[in-house]
Amino acid sequence: MWRSIMLKEWLKLRWAFSAALVLNAAFCLQILLDLRQQLAAEHAEMVWYQMIHLHTLAQHGMRYAPLLTGIALAAAQFVPELLGRRMRLSLHLPVSRNRMLLYSLLAGLLLLVSVIALIALLSAATMRYFFPVEAVWAVQRSMLPWFLAGLLAYLGGATVLLEPAWTRRAILVVVFGVLIRVLLGGRGYDWFTAFWPWLLLPAPLALTGVFESARRFQRGGI
């Protein structure tokens, strides 16, 4: 049964996932080429000064990439379920609603985490090529809020799309928008590392939000 749900979700997600993989890999490649170009054009000391002392992250330009990936995957997965209220087909399957939804979300999260892992891996490899390992870890820690923004964007997108009432949808958009704005608001290295335990709190709350939206969808908005 879980294999059937995974098959369905993969059929919906495969093009968005493939596009996200290619685009994010291209972003990472561009950062590698930009760094190489910078080091070729300027003194290495200048690049070091900018990156380490002035906290200019080479990856800052792609901070929205996990967010956009999360939104794209949520849309690819749940918009087809909303057209003609097609979600009713899944909700009538002989499996509990929460289990069905959990498998669906696991499929989406698995693909999203794969894209995030690719970004993390390519960023780490790029940084390690030019800089010491301490700089690699500093970049990884600084990118974590962006990755979390991607996860929240995916869960928030699913929650908003499944919610049947427009007023609640609007409120949810504002709530998730504020949370994501906070995660993407910082600059420089480690600006959010001290608050990491608090940053993780919205994720389980967002997960319960998806289940509540699906429950309301099934009951016609009650």
Binding site: M1, R3, S4, L7, K8, L11, K12, P80, G84, R85, R86, R88, L89, L91, H92, L93, P94, V95, S96, Q218, R219, G220, I222
Partner: protein, 293 residues
């Protein structure tokens, strides 16, 4: 007698407007029941409540003994749903559709699925989203039949289907209904199709429901015709339920006998000298009872 569907004291409101107040009816197991009503009378709302996609304001709606909005997976596996517009996963191919559903139903019958789908002559890798409405309806029908359900709930199965596909649908439904203890609850805009299928009719009108056997209704409700040049303004009353005028011919619908209707029309100032009973289809009866709009 066990009931596949039981509705007790059902009340529902939509945007503050009452759709039903104290609706009661039951569909016995093994019967084929058609729900008829004009547009806007709450047919789709009732079907959505039965399918578990709307929770009623009050009252109970039992499907195979369980509340329709909280059906267990075990009962859901015994209920085949056909949604309006032949809802299907359009991003799947025929083979993917079969593979997807087969893992949910222990009694899944692939031969039944492919038997229906192969009539269209499409390849197994044909995408559902690229099919015509009629072709998609066959895939949906194949999915429902292969589940081997005990209860079918069909919401306007005839929507968008030409005569051939409608007949094909009816053939399959007839075969299904002929098997022991299988129940069908169906709505359709093509009333004459239901005449060939159902044994019980539920008329829904302004929040009330009337349940009748098909033959009982066709025997009791009658169509009379007469010809006249000047017909005064007539209104529905306790004898005459409906009128229809086409040229000089006037059709009158009533539960009463010919002499009673004749006398009643005379009392209304209508000259119905040649009044006689005429053959009546279910569609005629539906229009006569419910009106055209």
């Amino acid at each position: 007698m066990s009931h596949a569907i039981e509705v007790r004291h059902l009340c529902h409101r939509y945007n503050g407007r009452s759709v039903y107040e104290d609706l009661n009816f039951a569909v016995p197991s093994g019967s084929v029941c058609g729900l008829l009503g004009k547009n806007g009378q709450g047919k789709t709302t009732l079907v959505n409540i039965l399918m578990g996609f709307l929770e009623p304001a009050s009252g109970r709606c039992l499907v195979l003994g369980e509340d329709s909005h909280a059906l267990s997976p075990a009962v859901r596996s015994r209920v085949g749903l056909l949604h309006e517009g032949h809802l299907a996963y359009e991003f799947m191919t025929i083979a993917q559709t079969e593979r997807f559903y087969s893992r949910f139903y222990p009694g899944w019958q692939p031969d039944l699925f492919y038997g229906l789908v192969e009539k269209m002559g499409l390849a197994a890798h044909h995408k559902v989203g690229h099919m015509s409405c009629g072709q998609r309806s066959q895939v949906v029908l194949g999915v429902i039949m292969a589940q081997d359900p005990d209860l079918l709930i069909l919401d306007d199965y005839s929507m968008g289907l030409d005569a051939g596909y409608r007949r094909l649908f009816l053939d399959v439904l007839h075969d299904f209904a002929s098997r022991a203890n299988k129940t069908i609850f169906v709505t359709s805009h093509i009333v004459q199709d239901l005449e060939q299928l159902v044994d019980t009719i539920l008329f829904i009108d302004r929040g009330t429901i009337t349940r009748m056997g098909l033959q009982e209704f066709l025997a009791a409700f009658r169509k009379y015709v007469f010809h006249c040049d000047h017909l005064p303004e007539l209104a529905r009353d306790e004898i005459v339920y409906g009128f229809e005028r086409r040229g000089r011919q006037v059709s009158v619908y009533s539960y009463s006998d010919l002499p009673v209707v004749k006398q009643h029309l005379a009392g209304l100032g209508v000259d119905a000298g040649d009044l006689c009973q005429a053959p009546m289809s279910l569609e005629d009866g539906f229009i006569g009872l419910m009106g055209k709009y």
